[in-house]
């Protein structure tokens, strides 16, 4: 047989190389790529009847699986790796969109701490698990503090706090209905109500300040100094403004009564002199890209330095209707938005119902931006980025040594299970040529399964599923062997067809029974469902055809021998 002229095999080889490259390049998606490979090669094995194609399909997938394990390694849950699981309890049940947002937000919060290995997932619709691969009490404490932190909202008008989150009815924060939007001529809006204290304070502070911005701060530092380079300062400056105008806008935005001003220093104008902090608690907010020398000098002069990304420390600007330049956002100080006061709110009369609204230019992203704006304002007003308030449950810590022991024992169990089944099969058929392929194929199946599941996370349930799959995986090969060994005068092909009918039905049945579990959201046992289903599919699409071709070849040789 001339392998190079075999177009089918060549096609498979090309796909194999493409998949291998993708697994190398897109490591985070390796698991999905392997599943894709399973279906592609499985499809070939179903449609192309040549025995060597079927063997090649299994072979290629096996190599991909081994390569994936070798290059990307395996991921284990905290049960095997050791670590800490912190349950986050939600104040109320949420729908799946909110839950996804929540999980994403928590992931971002935790990964800010450098814990990229943290695993965050929903358990039901009112609980989230955060798993971190660490049992260090300080790290855990830090994560717990970060998670349970509830932000404080301040609306600042002209250097005075006009409103705080404490005066806002949390359940009154809602998107504006379409009717009111069209009345106001806005594209998006959020309404909220305040109590008497809030209404009176706002009326007093905002009196006569129509067209002033309401600086919406979340967790504004009360004792800080801001260090900006000239480039950062002017990056988003409108073309028609000057440096002086920008400086005024910033100093207006950062001013606050009772000595809570945030002082602005332009790094380029420091000329080598380093300012002293206001007191020993003053934080210096500065870009992480600033010179190491400056940072160490700030530290030396008594500041507590807090570094930010370029995006977070670069201010954005806006012009009021009267043409005054104001600062719109500056994440490093917690300034997230700065809507302008309407005239109706500046009359000095207490007002209980407020709304923040705005326009969005027409465009393909119109609706997305509208939704984003609504969400952003809602989350600022509720004092944090989480859509519901949360509390933390009792954490579970599993020492790494114990996890490793569990893993070792589980791997030993896999080997023992394989051995025991091989002995059983050998004993049943007393035919080494039928037994060896069964064992070899079971091992390949196992490696592929481990590789796919290891690309996601192998937890206890998945491991149990893998061990189970070894026992159930040989079933179809037993069906084939028994059919082929039967001496009832039928042709080999006919027998094979019978065997495949039975196997196909079995796989469909086994998959159908487990599929609802896969989509149930019962995370604790989803690993078990995945490994069981993948085990069946893998067997049906690849290892069983491969086995059938091996046994078929052996039998044909035997017949020729006769």
């Amino acid at each position: 047989m001339d392998l190079l002229n075999d177009k089918k095999l060549l096609a498979m080889a090309v796909i194999f190389i493409l998949l291998l490259a993708s697994i190398l390049v897109y490591a985070p998606y390796a698991g999905l790529l392997l599943i894709l490979a399973l279906f592609i090669f499985g499809g070939f094995c179903l449609f192309w009847k040549e025995p060597h194609i079927k063997l090649a399909g299994l072979g290629f997938l096996l190599i991909l699986a081994i390569a994936n394990i070798g290059i990307n390694g395996m991921k284990y849950g905290i049960d095997f790796e050791g670590g800490t699981r912190i349950p986050v309890l939600l104040e109320k049940s949420v729908d799946s969109t909110t839950m996804n947002d929540l999980v994403q937000t928590i992931k971002t919060r935790v990964s800010v701490l450098g814990l990229t290995e943290a695993n965050v997932y929903a358990v039901g619709d009112s609980q989230v698990y955060v798993e971190i691969p660490s049992s260090d009490p300080n790290t855990i404490q830090f994560v717990e503090n970060t998670l349970s932190h509830q932000g404080v909202y301040w609306g600042v008008v002209d250097g005075h706090v006009a409103i705080t989150g404490d005066d806002i009815y949390s359940t009154s924060i809602n998107p504006l209905p379409a009717q009111e939007l069209s009345q106001e001529g806005a594209d998006w809006g959020v309404s909220f109500s305040v109590n008497r204290h809030g209404a009176e304070q706002f009326a007093a502070v905002a009196n006569g300040k129509a067209d002033y911005p309401v600086y919406m701060y979340l967790d504004r530092p009360s004792d800080a100094a801001l260090f900006l380079s000239k480039a950062e300062l002017e990056q988003n400056m409108p073309d028609d403004s000057s440096e002086k105008e920008v400086l005024t806008a910033l100093s207006d935005g950062l001013s606050l009564d009772q000595g809570r001003n945030i002082t602005l220093y332009v790094i380029d104008s420091l000329n080598g002199t380093v300012p002293s902090p206001k007191d020993n608690g003053t934080i210096a907010l500065i870009s992480g890209n600033a010179s190491a020398q400056l940072i160490s000098e700030l530290n030396a002069s008594g500041f507590t330095v807090k570094e930010f990304s370029e995006t977070d420390i670069t201010p954005t600007y806006n012009r009021t209707r009267a043409g005054v330049l104001t600062v719109e956002t500056l994440t490093a100080v917690g300034l997230l938005s700065a809507p302008l006061l309407s005239e109706g709110l500046a009359t000095g009369v207490p007002n209980y119902d407020f709304s923040v609204s705005g326009a969005v230019a027409a465009g393909p992203d119109h609706n997305t931006i509208v939704t984003q704006n609504i969400k952003q304002i809602e989350s600022i007003l509720t004092g944090g980025s989480l859509p519901v308030s949360i509390s933390l449950g009792s954490r579970t810590t599993l020492p790494a040594s114990l996890g490793q022991e569990f893993l070792q024992l589980s791997l030993i169990a896999i080997v023992i299970s394989l051995l025991a089944i091989s002995v059983l099969i050998g004993f049943r058929y007393r035919n080494i040529r039928a037994t060896l392929p069964i064992v070899a194929i079971s091992i390949s199946e196992l490696i592929i399964l481990l590789s796919i599941l290891g690309s996601f996370t192998i937890d206890l349930a998945a491991m149990a599923g893998i061990i189970a799959a070894i026992g159930v995986g040989v079933d179809a090969q037993i069906v084939i062997t028994d059919e082929l060994l039967k001496e009832d005068g039928e042709e080999t092909d006919e027998k094979m067809a019978h065997a495949f009918d039975i196997i196909k039905t079995n796989v469909i049945v086994a998959t159908l029974a487990m599929i609802p579990l896969l989509f149930s959201g019962l995370v604790e046992v989803i690993g078990f469902a995945i490994s069981t289903i993948l085990g069946s599919l893998l067997g049906y699409l690849l290892s069983r055809p491969a086995y059938a071709s091996i046994v078929g070849m052996i039998i044909k040789k035997k017949e020729h021998g006769k």
């Binding site: 104040e91 009815y169 949390s170 209980y352 022991e405 026992g471 959201g521 046992v525 469902a529």
Partner: protein, 368 residues
Amino acid sequence: MDFPNIFKGDYRLLCIPPLLLILISFYFIPHIQMGVDFQGGTLVTLTLKGAVDAPQLKSELASEGLQADVDVVQTTSGYQAEIEVPQSPKLVEADQLKSDFNALVPDVSFLEVESLQNSSNTTQYLAEDAKLQNISDQMFAIAGMSRSDFNITGTIDEQKAFTTAYNKVYSDYATSVSGPIDKYVQYSSMSIQTVSPTLSTEFIGQAISVVIASALLSIVFVFVFFRDPFPAAAVLCGAFSDVTIAMGAMGLFGIQFTLPSFAALLMLIGFSLDTDVLLTMRILKRKGDPREKAYGAMKTGLTMSLTAIVAFITLFVLAILTNIPTYYEISAVALAGLVGDMFATWGIDAVLLLWHVEKLNAAEKEVV
């Protein structure tokens, strides 16, 4: 592996053992213990520094007011204690109050704002606010607090106070569990799994929908596949008997009903249908003596069951060694089900099918 063909002779007698098993199972099924997942409650797993006498620990904990089931096992990593604390009625009540409170808050907030703007709305606001206060007073009572502990001047404060009280109920509960344990047990690591009333209710709901979906999918597939009601019903009968026997074993051997054992039961539906389908296809779609074909199918089927049993025995031994509940629950249920499947498939499904096929054959002969 040669054994006599059990289907020769009066095969109908074969259904006696599985029917007996099913009867016994019906007795034990109500005795199945619900695990933490479905019943709610707290499961504390401790890695102990030394051996501890379980009954003694149980009474020590009880003397501190903590009623709990205590189990001490020796594993490869030393002694482990499992302390299972049932759901606290306080938590159930607190959760109920919280959901009532959350349902009422938006209205009361709205009315409060209305009454601030227009005093003619005040009566209605006060009426609704009284309801809300009534709910939070109940929560304060559970938390051992009172309204005077807070400075409440409106709905916003009310909400804050309510949340504080609710969190206190939960932290008191956690202390009531961990306090006595810390006092009497020397441990090197502790794992606490608390399933709140809300979560366990949700788990039950999800489990029920999963079972319904699985059962429907399987039933529809089997009927569509066989297109003949009798074998389809026989196959489902076999699967149903299998799951019944597995659940009976759960009641008998005290295997708790948890998410892992639930997953194992679902797997059994698939596995038991496997052998049933094998048998049905061999008997119905091949030529030859039905009893011989049933016997041939049984040889294949038993080999399949045996390999699965070997795998799950390994998992079971691993579970005993490591005391990992997930492993134990899955393997124990699977083993019970696999043994049950042998009886159910070859004692019930096979008998039904043979009886059906032989009656058909007899009818054909009469026509001829």
